[in-house]
Structure formats: C-alpha cells, structure tokens
C-alpha cells in the first residue's frame, strides 16, 4: 500500500482545502494584518506538500505539474516586475509607484496597489517552494 495510513490520508483530504483557503486569506489581508505574500505563499505551498507527503506522488501524477508550477513561478515574478516598472513609465519616476487610488481604511481595497503586489509575491513564493520540493522528490526517483 502506497502512502501513509488511511487516517492520515483522510485527514489531509479534509484539511488541505481549508489550508489553501487560509493561505489565500493571509495573502489577501497582507496590508491589514501581519503576514502578506511570503507567509501566505508558504502556507499555500504547504497544502500541496501535505497531499504529496500523505498520498505519495503517484496519486496525482505530479510529473506534469512540476512544469506548470515553474511556469507559474516565472509568470508571477514577471508580473511583479511589470507592475514595479509600470509606475515608472506611467507617472512620476518612482520605483514601486502606488498607481491605484486608496479606499477607506480597514476595507479590503484600501491600499492601492499593495494587495496586487502581495498576490503576485504569494503566487511566486508558493510556486517556487513547490517546485523545490518536487525537484527533491522527483530527482530521488530517477537516480
């Protein structure tokens, strides 16, 4: 039997979705509470790592998804740089210029462009950590 016992498998199947949701919560509320893109990205990657640890790698054929996650990583860092330099081209010459208007404090859309930066940092960190983990796992089988 592959993987760990049925108890651990069921608990991870129940909890991994909630962990993903929690990571998204930390990413989106990065400008209101501590946390932000990096911490939330690590938790998002943790939800996938938990599934791989509990079920084994044959459970969802991750060989293909490794390419996808490195693609996500590249796209995330590219959008981050694009946003950072976009302000440079559009408005006064300031790196990381806050383009968008601010809202009322305490709401979700109240910090201009900072939540967008947080989302892209989150995608980038999650994809990078996941691809590092999968690189360890997959290269261990090929030797």
């Amino acid at each position: 039997m592959k993987g760990m016992t049925i108890i651990v498998k069921n608990v991870t199947a129940l909890l991994s979705g909630l962990i993903f949701l929690y990571g998204c919560y930390i990413v989106l509320h990065g400008h209101l509470t501590p946390g932000g893109g990096f911490a939330g990205g690590i938790i998002i990657a943790g939800s996938f790592i938990l599934l791989v640890i509990a079920n084994g790698i044959q459970y969802f054929r991750l060989n293909k998804e490794k390419e996808e996650s490195s693609l996500f990583e590249g796209a995330g860092i590219f959008c981050f740089l694009l946003l950072a330099t976009g302000g440079l081209f559009l408005a006064v010459p300031v790196f990381f210029k806050n383009l968008l208007p601010g809202g009322t404090p305490g709401e979700l859309l109240s910090a201009g462009i900072i939540p967008v930066y947080n989302i892209f940092i989150g995608i980038e960190v999650a994809a990078a950590l996941l691809s590092i983990f999968l690189a360890f796992v997959i290269f261990k089988t090929e030797d």
């Binding site: 760990m4 016992t5 108890i7 651990v8 608990v11 129940l14 909890l15 909630l18």
Partner: protein, 118 residues
C-alpha cells in the same frame, strides 16, 4: 462573571499542560510519553482557546479561536498516530514490563517478505 470563568479555564488548561509535560519527563518509553503528552497538552490548548471565546464573545477574535479548535484536534491526533506508527516501524523497543505486542506479532513476517521482494 465571564472573566472569572475564563480565568478558571486558563487554570485548567495550565494544569493539564503541566501534567502532559510531567508525563513527557517521567514515563519510561516513547509510546507512553506520546500518550500522556498528546492528550493533555491538546486539551490544555483547547481550554485556553475556549477561555478566549468566553472572554470576548462571538466577535471576530472569538470566532477565529473557535475555528482553531477542530483544526488543532485533527492535526494533533493524526500527527501523534503517524509518529507512533513511524517509531514502531523504526524499531524502538517498548518498555521491558510491557504486556503484549500484537502489532509486531502480526506485521513482522510481512515486513520481511516485502523487504525481500524489493
């Protein structure tokens, strides 16, 4: 009144955590240590979370603590289960005064077969 109840719950939580850590120090082998520590410390943390719910009521902070209770329960119990199985497979001896061990009676032969195949 609410503050009194929550203070009492904090006291119960502290006492249970203390018993768990004392068991972690005193008991003889890894399996018994895992028993006492997991049960007592998990219930202690749950008591402290409940005291927060009682003190602040069902606003944002209380409901967040209420969400944390089932997550803590499921993760700590299944983590203890996985650790126990792992340390048994890894071959740490049970205490010498242990009575029975049906698990190694049943699985020892099978383990050898599978290792021979691979």
């Amino acid at each position: 009144m609410n503050e009194l109840i929550s203070n009492i719950l904090i006291g119960i939580g502290l006492a249970f955590s203390f018993f768990g850590c004392l068991g972690l120090i005193r008991l003889p082998d890894i399996y018994n240590r895992l028993q006492s520590a997991t049960k007592c410390v998990t219930l202690g943390a749950c008591c402290i979370l409940l005291s927060l719910v009682i003190r602040y009521g069902f606003n944002d902070i209380g409901i967040k603590a209420l969400i944390a209770i089932p997550i803590l329960f499921f993760t700590s119990t299944s983590g203890a289960h996985a650790l126990l199985k792992g340390s048994h497979i890894s071959g740490f001896k049970m205490w010498e005064k242990s009575v029975t061990d049906h698990y190694s009676d049943d699985t020892l032969g099978k383990e050898e077969e599978t290792t021979e195949k691979t």
